[in-house]
Assembly symmetry: D2
Homo-oligomer: 284 residues x 4
Amino acid sequence: MSKFILNINCPDQKGIIASVTNFIHLNAGNILYIDQYVDRENKLFFMRLECEFINGDFTENEFHTTFGETIVKKFNLTYELYNKDIRPVMALFVSKYDHCLYDILARYMSGELFVKIPFIISNHKDLESIAERFDIPFYHIPVTKENKAIAEVQQLKLLKDHGVETIVLARYMQIVTGKIIDEYRNKIINIHHSFLPAFPGAKPYHSAFDRGVKIIGATSHYVTEELDAGPIIEQNITQVTHLNSIQDFIAKGRDLERIVLSKAIQLHLARKVMVYQNKTVVFS
Amino acid sequence: MSKFILNINCPDQKGIIASVTNFIHLNAGNILYIDQYVDRENKLFFMRLECEFINGDFTENEFHTTFGETIVKKFNLTYELYNKDIRPVMALFVSKYDHCLYDILARYMSGELFVKIPFIISNHKDLESIAERFDIPFYHIPVTKENKAIAEVQQLKLLKDHGVETIVLARYMQIVTGKIIDEYRNKIINIHHSFLPAFPGAKPYHSAFDRGVKIIGATSHYVTEELDAGPIIEQNITQVTHLNSIQDFIAKGRDLERIVLSKAIQLHLARKVMVYQNKTVVFS
Amino acid sequence: MSKFILNINCPDQKGIIASVTNFIHLNAGNILYIDQYVDRENKLFFMRLECEFINGDFTENEFHTTFGETIVKKFNLTYELYNKDIRPVMALFVSKYDHCLYDILARYMSGELFVKIPFIISNHKDLESIAERFDIPFYHIPVTKENKAIAEVQQLKLLKDHGVETIVLARYMQIVTGKIIDEYRNKIINIHHSFLPAFPGAKPYHSAFDRGVKIIGATSHYVTEELDAGPIIEQNITQVTHLNSIQDFIAKGRDLERIVLSKAIQLHLARKVMVYQNKTVVFS
Amino acid sequence: MSKFILNINCPDQKGIIASVTNFIHLNAGNILYIDQYVDRENKLFFMRLECEFINGDFTENEFHTTFGETIVKKFNLTYELYNKDIRPVMALFVSKYDHCLYDILARYMSGELFVKIPFIISNHKDLESIAERFDIPFYHIPVTKENKAIAEVQQLKLLKDHGVETIVLARYMQIVTGKIIDEYRNKIINIHHSFLPAFPGAKPYHSAFDRGVKIIGATSHYVTEELDAGPIIEQNITQVTHLNSIQDFIAKGRDLERIVLSKAIQLHLARKVMVYQNKTVVFS
């Protein structure tokens, strides 16, 4: 009996929770988790629900049909239904830094991340040996000003051929191009090595060091057309002092980047993140 | 027998620590605390030392004379000597927010802050009753575009008449004018309700809310001519989620502001903060 | 039009959320906030709801009657209804430490704590001047082995005469007696200066120092018959190093105690805390 | 030209810093880092110094001879001299949990940990494939009540044959026997999955869950004869709520254990940890 995740959003109206929970019950469904959030100022309703359907005849198609004819119409509702048994397909983009890659692959190998990683793409060859160590196909796609369009075509082909649903930029140092962002709206997770919106762009540790901050951070966010400005999923910080050199900032930052990126990936794969107005609702 | 704090900085050279500690010992001094920091890149040396002189004849004047003729000349050294028995004189500037004021006054009354607070200056009358409750003189000095110069004259007169050494802006909402900054270089402590350099200026909680950050912060720094850009003394953060409204950000922020401002005041009064290149060395 | 908070708990069953929300709507009520938690292992359901009733005729008594005849019976439900306009009556017990007292009184005076504090009880006279400064009646009730029973009678009389609903032990150093715990089950909030269950009882900072921990904490909990073992409401920590003396632990601890105790008080007064199996459910 | 780390401790006396720094200078040494700590209550002095000797003739043997004849005798001083160019030899002991192992091996492969890991010992075969993936020899040494002595002999032989200096218990679930603790006093680093001294021993996450704490932690410490009671090197925490199941505690705890264990290893390998009175001095 499959478990499902149902994410819903719509204008806030009376009776949504009751209607949705009744629908589940009427179809011999069992609710395992339910949480909702109402943005009362903007009158928007968000809900995340986990359930299982005891009746084997009630398929996903039937869900879409019956749910669409009733609840969706009544409340002008948008939803996503996810089957928890199906491993999401997630590709990794890397450059030269290996710490985030190792962290993700370790969680993958140990079963902590319930995904399928079909390949790793990189604009450098440096990390190819790590991909080999973990038996994952590695594609070296160099990126220059001249070949940007071609590189994008190659990347998109790989993504499409493997049915990739989520892209993780694990300290990938190239800017992701518009076509890919379009195809993967709110599905490209990036890790930026600062506490956004402080120090966007290049060399944030150097800027943080020059500013003499006493705290550095890392931020995971969905990629949008504007650099380091997409909806934030997760952030964390660590303390620094005058004793810490830029090298220390970078070293401490590596641990932050690992933890924050993996946390964001887990939240995303668990379908706990919903985006609106360039911000995220993150369910517990 | 008085205890002293000696803060030193100079170009890094061989033998400074030995020379200074020998000087203390030769004058029947006892070292109670010693810490140093070397910025090897810029070849700068910083030291903080606490000591007591057993020989009652060795006065502060003698210290300045003998130390100046020997160690200072040899190492081209800058220093400050503080007598730990003397209460520093610290004035408070406030506007309408009372949380930082209450926090400072509570620590003052309980003896936690070893200072003398001769008066509170405010551009509004709102907090006068709090000053009365704590028996501290309150001066209402309104500030407008037109009277800025006159207000500054009044403020400076009060500061000079009372021998004020440190100024704390406890959510004081007016920009401090140039003459006061000049007179009190690295002696005006401000609390800014964001994690600088993110969200400088007005309404940082609103900006943080709109950006959808998952962490908000507060920063205490010395005031310079550039708004919210002075050397950072202390920072701290707290987590926020989509469930938190702007009002929640502000409420959570109040606790941060209390703690961060008081921490910065304590570090400053303990003479643990040394400034260079718009950054701070903060001794433990 | 009054706003109400409705806290509910019962065995988990289908249809509770729908029934309760329908009840609110049927009585011309508007739901402003709703959150629930299901302990699936123990099959227990908890809900917190804020609402307002537009129909002036629908009084609290009517709520109790109609709600009791229908929803309560159907689901075997326990509930509490709170009127948000009514200031809860909260008494403070203190001994000699003043930091938590000052913190609570500051929030009280600034309007941050929506309570009525009718008096402060203390087993010492030390803090009487603070009570006077804030114009709050102060009752000195000394406690010795011999007079424990009499002291309890005096305390209970004051509590009853003033209609006190919540008691806050703000570093009150006496053990609260059984009769008071009985009368105020889950309504006596204590602050313990350690990260429970580490270092219960006396002198936790000394014990933490001897153990060489790198983190110290403070814990706020409801008082039960067993010392420092009641349901935990809030905890927080700060880092320490070998450089910190016991005095430093105590100083750092004071800030933690302030923040943790006030946080617990706010959560309790906002009716966000529900207790079961010696643990708390804390709604956002 | 080799870089050295010199760790010193002795009874606190006048002139130690001057004597040691003069010794370095007299032998054409250059001080790159110096930090000291004085426990004034116990009158103990600790120093950590990094330096390089320009004169190629001044070997380690010469250092031991001249330093021993002068400074050591004069101050009754204990010291350790480490050559920064020599990779410390560090063995790993594991059982079935893989997260700490992966974390350490990733840092090893990327060059972040400057060590030589000659082998991994385990009482189970489960993690053998990970050792193979990273090309590190794996020795399966099962441990039962009956064979404890024999297992210890095998472990000690491997440790001695490979010149192991440091042992890391990366969620190794067997109690380390007395002979090994004796041979490796303050050189066996363990990770315990709680915030010691809370919840020592088995199943700390279960105990933490039952107690209803709002914070869980991990602690890294040197192993002594008493279980989970050795000197603490590093601790960290994360917040939990009623929404978190025991599985959530365990999952969150894994990240803590990774970070805390690796931090402790780095501090130990950098020779920044000095032990006395069952506590640690940890230099920055």
